[in-house]
């Protein structure tokens, strides 16, 4: 059967002519998006530029956006994304500058990987042979080591879309790999760095990275664990940490969330500039009758508190 692909074209020598170009190719049930793109390049239009190599979702070269969502195109069958032969729109991955057509500049990606010190820094006596780590620890880390650095998560990250200083899901997943490695001696320094602006607290928990990762690395889940580790290590002086603590306190007390208190606690009770800056928003909301003066509670807050105590042991 026939399948049409609308492919984003960009030629740096003729930037004015950037746009979509339609190609129609013959496909079967098992044709992948990459197969179709290769057919276009080999048989129809040799000027189309893209990256690909292994064709087996190992090398991580062929991440692209298919109908707006980042995917490894070698792993994506056309029949799974266009079951009724719908036209597929192919764009380069997002949040990185385009070099030509579907090829992007990965420098920002690698710069952020470098920024998280992506190598082991053991401390103490150097063993005569290997550094030992338990099977359990390594099996856990394999979940993150599986990252093939394809950039799909970076492409669709909603924070990077508005702030390119954010370390981003791939680099933070890499950071987790070393924070959690029992052989590393710099866990505390790493967490201190990750606790700074552009680090773990800037993730908005939108789960795009979880959704698009072709290797189930779960970058957001790793970021959440590092938030908890940072707090447990004593890095509590951030809005993010205060936000989590205030949230937990409110639910523990009333069974429900008190949004007003959450706002004040997160900014910091003595952070007068931030509080004043937000005052107009608060006042507008009050004038419109947005906030319940009495607060709201579970009908059995004690039962909720009991669960907190039982699980947290305090």
């Amino acid at each position: 059967m026939e399948q049409t692909l609308r492919v984003k074209r960009y030629d740096p020598e003729n930037p004015g002519e950037a746009g979509y170009q339609d190609y129609t190719v013959e496909v079967t049930d098992t044709t992948t998006v990459l197969d179709a793109l290769l057919t276009i390049r080999e048989d129809m239009d040799g000027t189309l530029s893209m990256r690909c190599s292994c064709r087996a979702s190992i090398c991580g070269s062929c991440a692209m956006r298919v109908d707006g969502q980042a995917k490894l195109v070698c792993k994506t069958r056309i029949s799974s994304v266009a079951p009724n032969g719908e036209t597929l729109t192919i764009d380069p991955v997002g949040n990185m500058p385009v070099i030509k057509d579907l090829v992007v500049e990965f420098k920002p990606f690698w710069d952020k990987m470098r920024a998280v010190t992506p190598y082991l820094q053991p401390e103490g006596v150097i063993p005569e042979a290997e550094y030992f780590a338990s099977d359990e620890d390594m099996v856990h880390l394999v979940g993150v080591v599986n990252c093939i650095q394809c950039g799909a998560c970076v492409s669709d990250c909603t924070v990077l879309e508005v702030d390119d200083s954010f370390l981003g899901p791939a680099a933070l997943a890499k950071a987790y790999r070393f924070v959690k490695d029992p052989r590393d001696g710099h866990q505390k320094d790493r967490l201190e760095d990750l606790n700074k602006p552009s680090g773990v607290w800037d993730c908005t928990r939108c789960m795009q990275c979880v959704e698009v990762c072709p290797k189930d690395v779960d970058p957001m889940g790793r970021i959440m664990v590092m938030r908890d580790m940072a707090m447990e290590t004593g890095f509590n002086n951030t809005s993010g940490s205060r936000h989590t603590e205030s949230f937990a306190k409110s639910v523990k007390k009333n069974g429900r969330l008190d949004e007003m208190k959450l706002a004040v606690d997160s900014m910091g009770k003595f952070n007068i500039p931030a509080l004043l800056d937000s005052a107009p928003v608060g006042l507008r909301a009050m004038r419109k009758g947005k906030f319940p003066w009495k607060g709201h509670k579970s009908s059995e807050p004690d039962k909720v508190k009991q669960i907190f105590e039982k699980i947290e042991g305090k």
Partner: protein
């Protein structure tokens, strides 16, 4: 049709107009419900980052309460839906984990067997009531109005926790419901992206940029309003829009953010006050006017 109703904290807190409009619209639709008054907050993903088991236990307690009532849960919050769906998936996949949590719940005599169904009101409309029945309650044909859908992250991701395989229609349910009123659903890229609320109190600049991008995009596409099934998205997109507007070249956006039941209420010909439409930061006057002058629905 009867549900164990779980409105969520924000409907009981910062968006009272959601509660009012949801009740009015559900009454009109004849949806019977009994609120799970003892239920706790879902944790909204925030508690989970501190202690996932704690978050899961609070949610499993809610599932057990609904199970005891013999009713499926219905929520009106995308975030609550997602957090509950994820918790339910985790315990159903891991019986040992569920047993551990049941042990905690045993103290108040509760036990979760794993049978509770959790459905957002949006899904109830599409799957249980059905578009045809829904349309029977409309007295207005909102043709001439354009609405921009805005789902909220938790009701679209992770897709494998949300039953999309069994219910593919859920992925376009918001557009389906918007179009059932006769209005046009504009095609905004931002519809499944993050509103920015989770980082509002952590990195306000980024959160406001998200509001600016999404509401600005919808406005540029000619939307009269944005419609969301998520009160958390509403809080940010409505409350912080005046600040976000400063980031647009024109310095203004003025896009009303309607809760899903409010849009339905307009199609049902309800009065703006019944729907709490006076309680918005961004004025809803124009969209109310357009809905009021919309033609009578002929069915």
């Amino acid at each position: 049709m009867k549900y164990a109703f779980y409105p969520g904290c924000v409907a009981r807190g910062g968006t009272p107009e959601l509660m009012v409009s949801a009740n009015a619209v559900m009454d009109r639709l004849g949806i019977e419900r009994e609120e799970i008054v003892s239920a706790a907050c879902t944790g909204a993903g925030v508690l989970q980052e501190r202690n996932q088991k704690l978050g899961d236990a609070l949610n499993v307690r809610t599932f057990a309460l609904a199970e005891k009532m013999g009713l499926p849960i219905m929520t009106i919050c995308s975030t609550c839906q997602g957090v509950m769906s994820q918790a339910n998936r985790r315990v159903l996949r891991d019986p040992e984990y569920l047993a551990e949590i049941n042990e905690v719940l045993a103290e108040e005599g509760l036990q979760y067997k794993g049978t509770t169904v959790i459905k957002h009101f949006l899904w109830v409309l599409v799957e249980e009531i059905g578009i045809e029945e829904l349309q029977k309650t409309f007295t207005k044909e909102l043709s001439g109005l354009k609405f921009a859908p805005f789902y909220g992250c938790y009701i679209v991701r992770p897709s494998d926790a949300l039953g999309f395989e069994e219910h593919p229609e859920r992925q376009t349910s918001l557009e389906t419901v918007i179009e059932s009123t006769g209005a046009v659903a504009v095609e905004n890229d931002g519809k499944t992206k993050c509103c920015g609320l989770p980082i509002l109190l952590i990195n306000q600049s980024n959160a406001i940029q998200m509001v600016s991008n999404h509401t600005g995009e919808a406005k540029d596409l000619g939307a009269d309003a944005m419609v969301t099934p998520c009160p958390l998205c509403h809080l940010n997109l409505d409350g912080y829009q005046p600040k976000a507007a400063k980031r647009r070249p024109s310095g203004k956006i003025d896009l009303p953010i309607l809760h899903l039941p409010q849009m339905l209420g307009l199609a049902m010909g309800m009065q703006p006050k019944e729907l709490g439409l006076q309680r918005h930061i961004i004025s809803t006057k124009e969209v109310i006017g357009k809905a009021a002058s919309a033609p009578v629905a002929v069915r």
